[in-house]
């Protein structure tokens, strides 16, 4: 449980200049600046921008958006004013002058604000974070409940993971577990544009592509990297990042699915997206309806590592789905909920999955541990009312 919510303060303990001026910042347009790091305080979120003296490290107008997927720290490139800027947004409540007893610099305790700003500067500049170790796994796991790593929104189902290694702490959710290798270039461009818009829209969240684990093709992911975060802010930032990711995944999931679905035929895709930064809400208009779920074509191909493929039908036999790319670690209950939504079944009753071959009801644990690839399952309601 997020115990940080007990703090009632909605403002930093000190005024902005009181926090920043002693740290060597000087007032600059829009905020305060020190050694290429510009800080713009605000009531809810502080925005940090990194503008090093070395121009080669910045992005110029007309460049493709640089990629920071997998890099330490929560910096990301955001489209603003016809260029890309390296930005980091942090909750304002983190910037207090209370002494962080964890961080010492030559025998002097440093404030939470200073620790955060140093982290921001070092991760932006690519300085090696020697001496930092991630919190113990059990400590990290005490910050959230397991269910929060599963995003179920209607038919959307995504299973996130916490990446915790001695020198790394990150959260990652798949947006598309498989980007089809033969996806037309225009669609791929639209998909990239969608991910970039999500990156621009959601604080802390970075979106992009990674090579697939099995080396075949790529996957689209959303992540927040907290490597090097000062311990005083680790829990709050972790919880904030998890919520941001869950929101981004819900926002991205369905449109990304449509873009990657070869069964969806839109003439709209013939043109590539405008490289101008989008303004206003992202709108998608379907020109042709998606095919009936029961008419979904069989998709040939080998099962991917970590992914499951099976056939699902509802208890009445009305709806049949060929289900692909379900992460094996996803709890069976979440899969049932997503399938029920996809099939348009009532949402006011929990659903269970039954192995059609054995009749066994799947338990509330990873689905990959309970059925094999290519299995046939039946979705049944859990009736409780008489």
């Amino acid at each position: 449980m997020n115990t940080a919510s007990w703090s009632s303060s909605t403002h930093p303990a000190a005024g902005w200049s009181e926090v920043l001026l002693p740290e060597g910042f000087t007032p600059a347009a829009g905020g305060y600046e020190r050694a290429g790091l510009r800080v713009c305080p605000a009531q809810d979120w502080w925005t940090l921008e990194y503008r090093p003296d070395d121009e080669s490290l910045t992005s110029q107008a007309g460049d493709a958006r640089p990629d920071r997927i997998g890099q330490a720290g929560a910096w990301k490139w955001v489209a603003q004013d016809r260029a890309f800027r390296l930005l980091l947004a942090l909750p304002a409540s983190l910037f207090t002058v209370e002494t962080d007893e964890i961080c010492w610099d030559a025998g002097t305790p440093v404030t939470a604000a200073d620790a955060l700003l140093r982290w921001a500067h070092e991760t932006a500049a690519g300085v090696s974070l020697t001496g930092w170790t991630a919190p113990l796994r059990k400590v990290v796991e005490s910050w959230f409940s397991r269910e929060q790593l599963t995003v179920v929104a209607g038919p959307l189902l995504r299973q996130g993971e916490v990446i915790r290694e001695p020198g790394r702490l990150a959260l990652r959710f798949p947006i598309l577990s498989q980007v089809p290798g033969d996806l037309p270039p225009a669609r791929l461009a639209w998909l990239r544009a969608l991910l970039e818009e999500a990156q621009d829209r959601w604080h802390l969240v970075r979106c992009g592509f990674l090579p697939a684990p099995d080396g075949a093709g790529q996957v689209a992911i959303a992540e927040v990297d907290l490597t090097g975060v000062p311990p005083v802010a680790s829990e709050i930032l972790f919880v904030t990042a998890l919520e941001a990711l869950r929101g981004a995944v819900q926002w991205l999931g369905e449109p990304a699915d449509w873009l990657a679905d070869p069964n969806v035929a839109w003439n709209f895709w013939l043109s590539v997206p405008n490289n101008e930064p989008t303004k206003g809400p992202y709108q998608m208009k379907a020109l042709t309806p998606t095919p009936e779920p029961s008419a979904a074509a069989q998709v040939p191909g080998q099962p991917r590592g970590g992914m499951l493929r099976f056939e699902a039908r509802d208890v009445t036999g009305t709806h049949v789905l060929e289900v692909r790319n379900v992460q094996r670690t996803t709890p069976a209950g979440a899969v049932a909920t997503a399938l029920a939504s996809r099939m348009g079944l009532p949402a006011d009753v929990p659903w269970i999955i039954r192995n059609d071959a054995t009749g066994a009801v799947l338990e509330e644990r990873p689905i990959g541990d309970q059925i094999e690839d290519g299995a046939k399952v039946v979705l049944s309601p859990k009736a409780h009312l008489g």
Binding site: W6, S8, S9
Partner: protein, 214 residues
């Protein structure tokens, strides 16, 4: 950044790792022995007692006066928190510096959502004037502190203590007459709505890092 490898300082999510010092250790050993009920419930009570005593050890804001785990978890503690008071509901508005709270955590609270009024009673002072505290000057006279319409199943004791703090000093209090949960003391709600400058009574957080050091 110079960050020596070490364990994080105690925080509210790691109270279970705090090593209890005497006399807290002695209190824990005595009450833990007296915990009754089924095994999972006993363990849960013992863990909650440990966290509560750890909180008292770390913070000077709370002093445990009584703790019993026989059936429900029952504790009486003194809490250094400004308390709005008004004798009989009509006297001058005053702020008491401290409250004595009786907190009960029943077995069903670990399993099912519970109403917010089923946990805490302000035992002292006896003339609390607070929109979410039932007034002592009306029957039945108990000063029940309502922490919200519904609290989730399995809420931690320590979280309840923190909620009691923020609710009592009005950092997090409901006195909106449009709130469907209602008010326990309408007169107090009207008074504070007319005097917004008094709210909250303090902005101090429950636990400052200085207290953690001690």
């Amino acid at each position: 950044m110079n960050v020596p490898p070490h364990q994080p300082a105690p925080s509210l999510s790691t109270l279970h790792e705090v090593e209890l010092l005497p006399p807290y250790r002695g209190i824990y050993e005595k009450v833990a022995l007296g915990a009754g009920g089924p095994e999972p419930w006993r363990r849960r009570k013992q863990a909650a007692a440990h966290e509560l005593l750890a909180l008292a050890q770390l913070s000077q804001r709370i002093t445990i006066q009584y703790l019993d785990l026989t059936e429900a978890i029952r504790t009486v503690f003194a809490l250094r928190v400004p308390v709005p008071c008004r004798r009989g509901g009509v006297g001058p508005f005053q702020v008491a510096p401290m409250a004595v709270i009786g907190l009960t955590y029943r077995p069903e609270a670990a399993l099912r959502p519970q109403p917010g009024f089923s946990f805490a009673e302000i035992l002292e002072p006896r003339d609390v004037f607070h929109p979410n505290v039932s007034p002592s000057y009306q029957p039945p006279g108990a000063q029940i502190l309502c922490l919200g319409p519904k609290l989730p199943a399995g809420i931690r004791m320590v979280d309840l203590v923190l909620m009691i703090y923020t609710a009592t000093c009005l950092q997090d209090a409901t006195f909106s007459f449009t709130d469907s949960a209602g008010l326990a003391n309408q007169a107090a709600g009207l008074f504070l709505e007319a005097n917004p400058a008094r709210v909250p009574l303090t902005r101090e957080p429950f636990l400052s890092s200085k207290e953690v050091i001690q």
